[in-house]
């Protein structure tokens, strides 16, 4: 034994001639042990990590002067070795996020050194929110980032606008980049309603989201950065013992709001009156017509006495259900870190027949081969299966059922759907048809990092993203409009993109006080899409539901398309004395998407920053603890203009199965990206030792060369052409305020408030600023994009019950009205986008109990209910009417806004501001109440922590909006911006869960 010890000692002596052992314990400010904190001798690679109790012991050489203790989220601390045997070390949490790592694209920096506007969300903002898409978790949390789910379907598209819509016709969605790989975000839905392609990503995989909002930050993404860039970083392991985490939750959903409709008695009363009035007005309908209809719609029951009184809301909606399970193992040592995670989500939507389930898994590995060479692989894959319902503009979508006649039964006594409704009963589709979308997604990145010099690194990344979506539809012989013994449709859409990135990064204090860092690289991106579909009819019976059994193949499609980008980029920053910053970046992008005359574009940006609080005159100021001024300016591109938008093209058509060709698109060789020039001036501040901190920003964002699908006179043979014409400006202010309100006696209360104002204004348009009018919207100079453009409804003529409209002629009496809507001039009647948005998050914590909730609100938007002329049309036809229509004009002298009911005569049914509504709202977006079991108890049973939580989304809504939901919009492509059309309200979900860490 003694011999062995001597040998060991000798062996150790070979490495270091004199050793000593130091011990210590690392805790946080509350005295809780920090597990896995890194302890390292300063200036060496000698180090260890703390154990389960926060203890460490480390052999150090006699000449070691200090050790450094670091732990994510805490201030790194250096402790001088004073010869003691044991050191008690208390780490304080990182001060007000200033040293938080900010991911900026091809690198990262600290918040302190940042001269750009970047909003950061961390996993704690994201997990526990009971919703299946990660984008919605960003809502209300970042200033100037507006996140809206189109409507309450589980698969509904997501609209994200960073500092307003920067485009009119081109894409306005930000670029999503996952661990350095630009994500495919193209809607592949074939049922007419957009689907969120990023549903495939489980929110539980995400460690942080950094949103690049200004030009200086996003310019490194050049032609793809104009709409902002959302950088998603997935979870990775940390050095230390393996951590296992299990999270389970289950919840229930209901619609946030339901609109009230006429009951059977009210319906019969209104329609009977409408028929009498119609007859008196224009001699139609004949006597008995309405009664005959009632007999039919009520399945020949006693409608006079309201035997059947169906509330179709109850038929279309249901109580949804949501379950989540996710499990992860992570850990590592100095050589290798790993994260392995899997998640399962099962969501039953609030709309009958709308379900989602998703499996996903992720492996992130990183290995240091030696002190210079590191390589790794991030790989995530998932499969999402969605039962979908038809788009909002289809009779067979559940939401259209809400305006079925209340005298109609939903189902007959034997359970089969009633087929005699006013328009097709969606239950026929629900029972006898299916539409299943399956989305498989594989996103991975292999990377290598070589340290050439301590200050110079070379990175080579190869990223791959694949989205493979199939859609399988079957409509049996009993579905509405079905005359071909069944119909089946199958589609396959495969999108792939690979991105090969190589870059050098340099970061060095070149002289005392002078730090220089730069990044220089190239990137090649190639993306392909291949699509195939087949449709068939004539099935032996409804039991055969796949194309194989279709006796007749009626349609097939096979297309391929591609685009690519070749890019060079550079970024350099110079920091003097840790307080003066200057940064510049440039990216040169070429793409197959741009016209032959304009293939390459260069996108420069620059920014400066000054940490004023580090100047002598403020250095010891107790009130103003931090003050930074920054400004950035640059140009970005928007290349989301389609793949071949510049070409004059003909495509194949078929006529009686003979091939032919037709022009599909007029060409324009000068077509190119949109250029957005952005200015941002920001002030960051901290008060009272950063207990209050915040940012104020002012920005302008001018998009020039707007891509326009410029409407052409139909008499020319084409209805639109793509042109780069027009200027659009977004300008606004953003305020972010974080406060540490109370932190004493174990009780803490923190708040985070953000507010943004965005003014969206068109500055120039094609054809000498001529108005561009499409359906009920207009693009007009001086107005916001896609403003509502409608005749102005003036109410009802008290004499005769006619709907009246303001004539609004330029000369003439501004109060003059007409009952002829054709005579009324349209006016710009509202903004489809909000002008103000705000979010407020409060977090209270006391002894393991944490309550956190986020309110968010929007002001200034209007929604046009395009379904109003059917459902709130004073009994113009047999669609059920909203309850407010009972207030119709009945006799001379009646003062009301609802015209006389006249069946079939269109009294007040023209598109007008009658159905334009303000959509201001404040909503309790989410609330989480959690309880952590005491850690002493947990350690006794061998666990790290156990947390129970209750979490909800959309729990409360304060609004005057009379429709279903102020956030819901129509999802059907032919309905334009800012319109609702039988659109489902958002879901209100409450979920209970437990999170266990081993």
């Amino acid at each position: 034994m003694k011999k062995l010890f001597t040998t060991l000692l000798l062996f150790a002596g070979i490495i270091t001639y004199a050793q000593q052992t130091i011990r210590g314990n690392v805790v946080d400010e509350d005295g809780v042990a920090l597990i896995g904190a890194t302890v390292q001798v300063v200036g060496t690679t000698n180090g260890t990590i703390t154990d389960l109790d926060g203890n460490f012991s480390l052999e150090v050489s006699a000449d070691a002067e200090a050790i450094q203790i670091s732990y994510t989220g805490y201030e790194t601390q250096e402790v001088s070795l004073i010869g003691a045997e044991s050191y008690d070390i208390v780490l304080s949490s990182a001060s007000e996020l200033l040293d938080e790592v900010i991911v900026i694209g091809y690198g990262s920096t600290s918040k302190r050194n940042l001269t750009d506007n970047v909003a950061k969300l961390s996993s704690k903002d994201i997990d526990k929110v009971p919703i299946s898409n990660f984008q919605s978790t960003m809502s209300g949390k970042a200033a100037g980032v507006r996140v809206t789910q189109v409507n309450g379907k589980v698969d509904a598209g997501i609209v994200v606008r960073v500092r307003g819509a920067a485009s009119i016709s081109a894409g306005s969605e930000p670029l999503y980049v996952l661990d350095g790989v630009p994500l495919i975000n193209q809607n592949e839905s074939n049922n007419g309603a957009p689907m969120n392609p990023l549903l495939s990503l489980s929110p539980t995989e995400i460690e942080s989201i950094d949103i690049l909002k200004d030009a200086s930050s996003a310019a490194i993404y050049g032609a793809r950065g104009a709409n902002g860039v959302v950088l998603i970083t997935t979870k990775r392991g940390k050095i230390g013992k393996a951590k296992m985490s299990l999270n389970m939750s289950t919840g229930m959903s209901t619609p946030t709001n339901l609109v009230e409709w006429l009951n059977a008695e009210q319906y019969v009363e209104l329609l009977t009156e409408a028929a009498e009035n119609g007859r008196a007005f224009g001699g139609w309908p004949d006597e008995g017509f309405v009664e005959g209809r009632f007999d039919r719609y009520s399945n020949n029951t006693d409608w006079q006495n309201g035997v059947i009184d169906t509330d179709w809301n109850d038929v279309a909606f249901r109580t949804g259900r949501q379950s989540n399970v996710d499990f992860s193992v992570s850990g590592g040592d100095e050589k290798t870190i790993y994260y392995l995670g899997g998640a399962y989500n099962d969501t039953e939507g609030i709309i009958l027949g709308n379900d989602l389930d998703r499996f996903s898994a992720r492996t992130n590995l990183r290995h240091n081969f030696n002190s210079r060479f590191t390589a790794g692989l991030n790989l995530g894959y998932s499969k999402t299966t969605i039962d979908r319902v038809a788009n909002d503009n289809a009779f067979v979508t559940p939401l259209q059922a809400i305006a079925q006649a209340p005298i109609s039964p939903a189902r007959l006594e034997d359970g089969t759907p009633f087929a005699g409704t006013v328009y097709p009963n969606f239950l026929l589709e629900q029972d006898f048809a299916s539409y299943i979308t399956q989305l498989r997604r594989l996103t991975g990145k292999g990377y290598a990092e070589y340290t050439i010099l301590p200050s110079l690194k070379f990175n080579s990344d190869f990223g791959y993203d694949m989205s493979y979506q199939t859609e399988d539809q079957f409509r049996g012989s009993r579905t509405p409009f079905q005359s071909t013994n069944g119909f089946a449709y199958n589609s396959n859409a495969i999108q792939e993109s690979y991105v090969f990135t190589n870059y050098l990064s340099f970061d060095k204090d070149v002289a005392p006080l002078h730090n220089v860092n730069f990044t220089l690289g190239t990137e090649f991106t190639q993306a392909d899409r291949s699509f195939a579909s087949v449709s068939g009819t004539q099935f032996p019976s409804d039991d055969f539901q796949t194309i194989a059994s279709a006796a007749e193949i009626t349609a097939g499609n096979g297309t391929e398309t591609a685009y690519n980008f070749l890019s060079y980029f550079a970024r350099a920053q110079y920091v003097f004395d840790g307080k003066y910053f200057i940064k510049g970046s440039i990216r040169r992008d070429g793409s197959s998407r741009f016209g032959s005359n304009r293939r390459f574009g260069t996108f420069p940006a620059g920014s400066v920053g000054w940490i004023i609080s580090q100047e002598d005159f403020l250095n010891n100021n107790n009130t103003l603890s931090f003050l930074k001024l920054r400004a950035s300016y640059g140009q970005l591109g928007n290349s989301e203009i389609g793949n071949f938008p510049s070409r004059f093209l003909f495509q194949g058509v078929s006529y009686n199965q003979r091939p032919g060709i037709q022009p599909t698109q007029p060409g324009n060789n000068d077509l190119t990206w949109e250029t957005s020039t952005q200015l941002d001036i920001g002030l960051e501040f901290g008060l009272f030792r950063d207990r209050i901190s915040g940012e104020v920003d002012y920005y302008t964002k001018n998009t020039e060369g707007l891509l326009f699908s410029v409407p052409l006179p139909g008499s020319s043979g084409a209805t639109s052409i793509n042109r780069n014409i027009g200027i659009l400006e977004n300008r606004g202010i953003e305020l972010l305020l974080n406060t540490d309100n109370i932190n004493s006696g174990g009780f803490s209360w923190t708040s985070s408030f953000n507010m943004a104002n965005n003014v969206n204004e068109i500055l120039a348009l094609p054809n000498d600023d001529a108005d561009i009018i499409f359906s009920q919207n207009i693009n007009r100079v001086g107005q916001p994009v896609s403003a509502h453009y409608l005749p102005e409804y003036a109410g009802v003529d008290p004499e005769n019950g006619d709907a009246l409209y303001y004539i609004n002629s330029e000369e003439g009496d501004p109060e003059a009205t007409t009952n002829d809507i054709g005579e009324a001039n349209r006016i710009v009647a509202g903004n489809p986008f909000p002008e103000w948005t705000a979010g407020l998050t409060n977090t209270f914590a006391y002894k393991g109990v944490t309550l956190s909730f986020t309110f968010m609100g929007e002001w200034g938007a209007s929604i046009y209910n395009a379904g109003g002329r059917f459902q709130s049309a004073n009994g113009d036809w047999f669609d059920n009417q909203t309850l407010d229509q009972l207030d119709r004009w009945q006799q001379p002298g009646d003062e009301t806004m609802v015209p006389q009911a006249r069946l079939g005569w269109g009294n007040g049914t023209g598109h007008s501001t009658r159905w334009l509504e303000e959509a201001d709202f404040i909503r309790l977006r989410n609330l989480t109440l959690s309880y952590d079991l005491p850690s002493s108890l947990m350690q006794r049973v061998g666990m790290n922590s156990t947390q129970f939580y209750l979490s909800g989304i959309n729990l409360l809504t304060f609004t005057d909006y009379p429709g279903y939901d102020p956030e819901s919009r129509a999802d059907s492509g032919n309905l334009t911006t800012g319109q609702a059309f039988y659109s489902a309200p958002a879901a209100r979900t409450i979920s209970f869960g437990v999170n266990i860490n081993f």
């Binding site: 039919r296 005699g420 097709p424 070589y450 050439i452 070379f458 409009f481 079905q482 005359s483 071909t484 190589n502 190239t522 090649f524 009626t554 297309t559 398309t561 591609a562 690519n564 070749l566 060079y568 070429g590 197959s592 793949n643 071949f644 070409r647 004059f648 093209l649 003909f650 495509q651 058509v653 078929s654 006529y655 009686n656 091939p659 032919g660 060709i661 037709q662 022009p663 007029p666 060409g667 409407p711 052409l712 006179p713 139909g714 008499s715 020319s716 043979g717 209805t719 001529a770 108005d771 009018i773 809507i821 054709g822 002329r869 059917f870 669609d879 079939g904 269109g906 049914t909 598109h911």
Partner: protein, 443 residues
């Protein structure tokens, strides 16, 4: 030294990337460029077929055009009970300028006219055979005349015609504003096109327009203009020489996969291409429609004598129980645009008006039509009213109602033939984009 090596590699990588630049040249896989499309004879022929396809879309001859003509002019014979508001505006004679059906008809018709013009502009590349070149020219002129004829009838108001374009547009960067031409200029083009087409087209041309399609349409145009002599001669020529014969039964003339013997011209529909919107709005769900948006009124059903097959060519909707016409009970049936039966009725009317009995006596032509449907033959003096009534019975719901009202100076639902409500408004989208266009009176 080592560092230099890495810098060398990095530079090399940059060079490799530069080689990627040529990969930025991508060609679309599903489309060809406009230049290529007009360079070859094969492609000119392809554009011609594309023109049929365009004109046959549901916005125009796929059915919405015929439907609107009947809703406008059907009076007591027709009723719209569907949920769509746009056709209801049409039947109410209260069309708004943003009516989608009206706007789509306009846009679609001009798109097809432009394609026909592109064919005519590039006939120079058709060099294989003179007769081939003539055929292509003849078909393109036939289609152009057909489209202008329906545009002028629905949008023309007095002397105010519709925009006249006789050359194809492929460069859309120019100012595309255009004034409305004189009505007479439109009709001059129509007649010139059709007379040329009669000369250019072969006697047989599969399901595409042939010599007799052009002549039959010419008969219809002359009838509309009141040129009875020319109308009668053209109709007679079709009856005598085209080889078309009435189908043995009335039902045989409808719901056909392939043209019937009496189809002088029909738009083609299959399960894979073409559109039949008449089926969509006239048929019940079991027959592929929406349940029966347009119903056959009691007044129409009461017109027929006992035994007249046309008087029972109806069925009850499986959804609503309403009476529907049986003319459109096959979702993939061709859309007959000119039936031989119409030629007999044109010839009869023309003979009556001119007093020159071409080919047959009016009474014989009427009885030819009636005999086929099992209706009792009529005798005695033929009157204009009799012929017009026979047209209602024979051609009802095929897009003739409004045109017969207008050309005979009749009235419908209290609106006189010249009432502005019977003319369609120039679509709002055209008003918003074409700075030279003028709206119709009353809108």
């Amino acid at each position: 030294m080592n560092n230099l090596k890495y810098i060398f590699y990095f530079t090399l990588a940059l060079l490799v990337m530069s080689a990627c630049e040529k990969r930025l040249e991508l060609e679309p896989a599903q489309s060809i460029s406009g230049e290529l499309a007009t360079e070859s004879e094969a492609n000119i022929q392809n554009i011609l077929i594309g023109t049929y396809s365009e004109a046959g879309e549901d916005d125009t001859y796929g059915g919405q055009l015929q439907m609107m003509a009947d809703l406008l002019g059907g009076g007591a014979y027709i009723d719209w009970v569907g949920t769509f508001l746009d056709p209801r505006q049409v039947i109410n004679k209260a069309m708004l300028s943003d009516n989608n059906f009206v706007g789509n008809f306009w846009n679609n018709s001009y798109a097809a006219i432009n394609q026909a013009n592109l064919v005519l502009d590039n006939l120079g590349v058709v060099t294989s055979d003179v007769s081939e070149k003539d055929r292509i020219e003849g078909e393109a002129r036939f289609l152009r005349a057909l489209l202008y004829f329906d545009l002028i009838r629905h949008f023309g108001s007095g002397d105010l015609g519709v925009p006249l374009r006789t050359t194809g547009i492929s460069d859309y960067s120019i100012d595309l504003g255009i004034e409305r031409a004189m009505t007479s200029a439109i009709y001059d083009l129509i007649i010139d096109d059709l007379e040329s087409a009669v000369d250019l087209l072969p006697e047989e041309n599969s399901f595409f327009a042939d010599k007799y399609s052009a002549e039959a349409l010419l008969a219809r145009v002359h009838l509309q203009l009141g040129n009875f002599s020319a109308a009668g001669m053209a109709a007679n020529n079709v009856i005598e020489n085209s080889g078309h014969v009435l189908t043995p039964t009335f039902a045989g003339a409808f719901n056909n996969d392939e043209n019937s013997t009496e189809d002088v011209f029909a738009f083609q529909v299959t399960s894979q291409d073409g559109a039949n919107d008449l089926n969509n709005h006239y048929a019940d769900e079991g027959n592929g429609g929406r349940g029966g948006d347009i119903i056959v009124t009691d007044a129409y059903a009461a017109l027929f004598d006992e035994g007249d097959e046309r008087g029972s060519f109806f069925y009850a909707s499986g959804q609503s129980g309403d009476r529907l016409t049986s003319k459109y009970i096959y979702q993939f049936g061709n859309i007959p645009l000119i039936r031989l039966a119409e030629m007999y009725l044109i010839r009869a009317e023309a003979s009556l008006e001119t007093g020159n009995d071409v080919g047959a006596l009016p009474i014989e032509d009427i009885n030819t039509i009636r005999r086929r449907s099992g209706a009792a033959e009529v005798s005695g003096e033929v009157t204009k009213e009799m012929i017009l009534m026979e047209r209602v019975k024979e051609l009802g719901y095929e897009g003739f109602f409004i045109h017969d009202v207008v050309r005979t100076g009749g009235s419908v639902d209290g609106f006189n033939a010249d009432a502005p409500e019977l003319t369609m408004p120039i679509p709002q989208s055209e008003m918003d984009t074409n700075n030279k266009i003028q709206q119709n009176p009353g809108y």
